[in-house]
Amino acid sequence: MTSTTPIVEGTYVYDIVQSKRGRPLNRLCLSLKESANRDQFVDDENAYCDRFGLDDDLKKAVLERDWVQMLDLGGSIFYIIKLAAIDKKSMQDLGGIFTGMTTEDFIAELRAGGRSFD
């Protein structure tokens, strides 16, 4: 591995290695732009995952809504948010999950000026 991708703690620096790992998941999420596809997904999540060729790890992460695992496996936040929208989850809900906070606490921190990491 000769990747020069910067390593920044607490941060996904999305690169082509990640992108390749998460291709089937991101393709699935992109398809959810269309409402007919959203209906099919909701109807049979398992079959929908198979249709997009998700391997067992990716499928498990989707079915269990393990958002951290999805990112670890190469999901892009801009794609995954389209899956979250089906569950009526907002970016703040996900922010809470990523940081181990309640949504309310996460929003409160943002309103207080955001989270600082000096």
């Binding site: 020069t4 991708t5 910067p6 920044v8 703690e9 607490g10 941060t11 996904y12 620096v13 999305y14 690169d15 082509i16 992108s19 291709r23 991101n26 393709r27 999420c29 992109l30 959810l32 732009k33 269309e34 959203r38 990112l71 892009s76 936040i77 801009f78 794609y79 389209k82 929208a85 970016m91 703040q92 996900l94 922010g95 990523f98 940081t99 996460f106 921190e109 943002l110 309103r111 000026g113 955001g114 989270r115 600082s116 990491f117």
Partner: protein
């Protein structure tokens, strides 16, 4: 001679668009942001461009990950507003300027910028929110034609900040060499500091943002010398979007004054800001 009459740096947060679309601009939460926009909006309403060149990034609405261009230009004369998963924003579709976009494309390629040509493009909030920041109530039709320029900010390796500034300088030359006497505005969009995922989700770095706002006018070379890692560490993985402001800054050039500036925390997960520059007119 075609001239650049102003340059706008602005965040392009989807919830800013949603707040306008749902008429929440006067809500307690949103009012300070929109009040901050007001003086710039008044000034721009009196200085209307024929064409807006809008530098932005797509957010998984028009481009898939199978093919990611570093820099792309939309050359069509019509761009539909993208359906981002909830139906398209209730704003007018976007009219392009095919002749000027072709001119810009050719000049940029001749200048050694390896543009990707998008002949078909749906434009997402990255482009339409800045248009709404400029013009909150367009009615049936946006008041200007639009040339979209897309930048890869989502996937490493993004273009360097230095390369963005250089692209902006070439873009300025290309615009000014377009025959006729059109008035053009250039939009740099994205930012300010924010990070959507990972343990640092919710990051906002006001100090970095304020220094960026200062130096985007005073010292763009300092901002151009920052690495991608600097931007990600200081401004968050999505704060890197600010490199797109450098393209606007390169295009409008050094002889400018700041018409207005505002900074607001937060617009949902993001520090939001606006800065408006106009060329200093020779006296």
């Amino acid at each position: 001679m075609t001239e650049i009459i102003w340059g706008l740096g602005t965040s392009h947060v989807p919830s800013i668009g949603a707040a306008m679309d749902n008429e929440k601009a006067q809500d307690e939460y949103w009012k300070p942001l929109f009040d901050g926009y007001a003086p710039a909006r008044e000034w721009m309403a009196e200085n209307t461009p024929d064409v807006a060149v809008i530098i932005y990034n797509d957010h998984a609405n028009a481009l898939g990950l199978e093919m990611i261009p570093t820099f792309a230009i939309g050359t069509d004369d019509h761009f539909n507003v993208a359906d981002e998963g909830y139906g398209p924003r209730k704003v007018p579709n976007v009219r392009g300027h095919a002749e000027m976009s072709e001119h810009i494309l050719v000049q940029l390629v001749n200048d050694g910028f390896d543009m990707t040509v998008c002949q078909e493009l749906d434009v997402d909030h990255g482009l339409t929110v800045p248009l709404s920041v400029y013009c909150p109530e367009p009615g049936e039709q946006w008041p200007c034609q639009v040339i979209p320029i897309l930048v890869n900010v989502l996937q490493y390796p993004q273009p360097t900040a230095q390369r963005c500034l250089a692209l902006g300088e070439a873009l300025g030359r290309a615009i000014r060499s377009f025959p006729g006497d059109l008035k053009v505005a250039v939009f740099g969009t994205g930012g300010m500091s924010h990070q959507l995922s990972g343990a640092r989700a919710g990051l906002i770095n006001e100090k970095f943002d304020r220094e960026f706002l200062r130096d985007i006018k005073e010292n763009p070379e300092r901002l151009a010398a920052l690495t991608r890692e600097d931007y990600i560490r200081e401004a968050g993985s999505e704060g890197l979007e600010m490199i797109m402001w450098l393209i606007m800054r390169g295009a409008i050039g050094d002889d400018i004054e700041r018409v207005h500036e505002t900074y607001h925390v937060p617009a949902s997960n993001t520090a939001a800001a606006l800065t408006l520059f106009a060329p200093v007119t020779a006296s």
